[in-house]
Amino acid sequence: MNAALILIALSVVLALGLGLAARRGHAMKLEEWTVGSRGFGTVFVFILLAGETYTTFTFLGASGWAYGLGAPAYYILAYGTIGYVLAYFVLPPVWRFARERRLISQPDFFAAKYNSPALGVLVAVVGIVALIPYLVLQFTGLAVIVQTASYGAIPKSVAVIIGAVVVSLYVVVSGIRGSAWTSAVKDVLIIIVAIALGLYLPFHYQGGITPMFAALDHAKPGFLSFAPTGKSVAWFLSTVILTALGFFMWPHSFSACFTAKNENVFRKNAIVLPIYQLVLLFIFFVGFSAVLVVPGLKGAATNMALLKISVASFPPWIVGVIGGTGVLTALVPGSLILLTAATLLARNLVGMVRPGRVSEESVVRLAKILVPVVAFVGAYCAIAGSATIVALLLMGYAFVTQLFPAMIMSLLARNPVTKEGAITGIALGVLAVIYFTLTNTTVATLWPHGPEVLRDINIGTFALILNVIGVCVVSALTAPGRGALARGAAE
């Protein structure tokens, strides 16, 4: 048993201990379990929202993108920042409405705003389909981290199963408080690890940050700016805008906002979170440094850049700290995803079979039974593993973005969008995403001779445009009193 293994095991025990301890003094009723009885102050909400920024996807993915693609990685910095600005304006009214109606999930919000249980079911299905691959990805990241940082001593399947058990345990016992508490430790650790690695590696190998970039710019001209085609400036702009719109539309981020005890929590967080995101810079530095130190990783293996350079540079105990931090970046978001997926299933799907006649107690009971079930579905997919998971995740992102138009319009005092319009828009957008993903459609294939600028635009943009067209047309047709298909003015 080496030092790395001991430290990784410690981080798992720490997560479990904290996650379980978070329950103390709170009876786990539905509103407590899912949204902490709406009692979280600025710091706790900050931790929950910021925690979403630093997942395994950023830990391994941001360094991997910097390593494999260069400048396109910057989009990660840009979309989060814009997402937080949107949050300043959008989340307070969302939160106010959720508190008035005692809502606990994203489908609740849509169903209540549009007075349509059917829309709630649709949003729940979209949410669950988007969340499962996200969970699988966290588990896959966990497996890669543990396997590498334990120098191969722990096989992937064992790592995933231990991870799934630990997360299930503290989610069932402590609900969202467990996520918040473990998230606090995770963020402290990742800031220390990111800054330490991001400064040490460039200084050690290349003599500083600027010399590193100078050497990289010399070795790979064009790597540090956007390519003329492919991942071009048009790709950057469209991807940043799309993902920024989708940022708070993830079901677990959306309902995490319900935990706030007042709406100024979001406004204060919008000031701090952009700067807090700059920790990503140091993760980029790690990826850029690795290009020159451990070259040759291709495709999915670029996600290994951070771990590879760490193993090559440090003694086992430091690798253990990095590995332990990596494990927490998987477990914490994993727990929030798990909690949300189980709640959506129990409340917004099963609960809808007999609407209004399922008690809150039975929803909680069912959700808690579903937590380990969902966890093991995720664990199974992670172990069975395939490249399609990444494709599924990208699809998930495009899915949740389709919820944005109906959400933002519902905040207007006089919403012109009808429930039929909202359902049509979301359904059209989601179907378009599925079609584009499965057929590998890009703008370039749809319009081979189109202008260069348009060819690189993120295909998700077109799904969103179809969505908006669907919303407009159907809302006009079904508008109460005026529309051709309206069911009378009494609507």
């Binding site: 910095l77 970039f213 702009l237």
Partner: protein, 70 residues
């Protein structure tokens, strides 16, 4: 200051327009390649803009639990 929220558009445009105006790694800013340094500056300016908006936002005053409806 009801319309102070529009101030947020400025740094967002700044952030996004960098690669449109000058898609290059040079000159280095803050010791980093042009695009990265540019974005770091604008991310910080987003935070500054949000702080200004918060300070002048009438919605904050009316909903602040410690200073109810002045």
């Amino acid at each position: 200051m009801k319309h102070i929220g529009y101030l947020a558009i400025v740094p967002i445009l700044g952030l996004l327009l960098g690669p449109v105006i000058h898609n290059s790694s040079t000159p280095f800013i803050l010791g980093m390649p042009f695009l990265l340094g540019w974005m770091v500056i604008w991310v910080v300016l987003v935070s500054v803009a949000m702080a200004v908006i918060y300070a002048l936002d009438p919605a904050r005053v009316t909903t602040d639990p410690e200073h109810p409806r002045r």
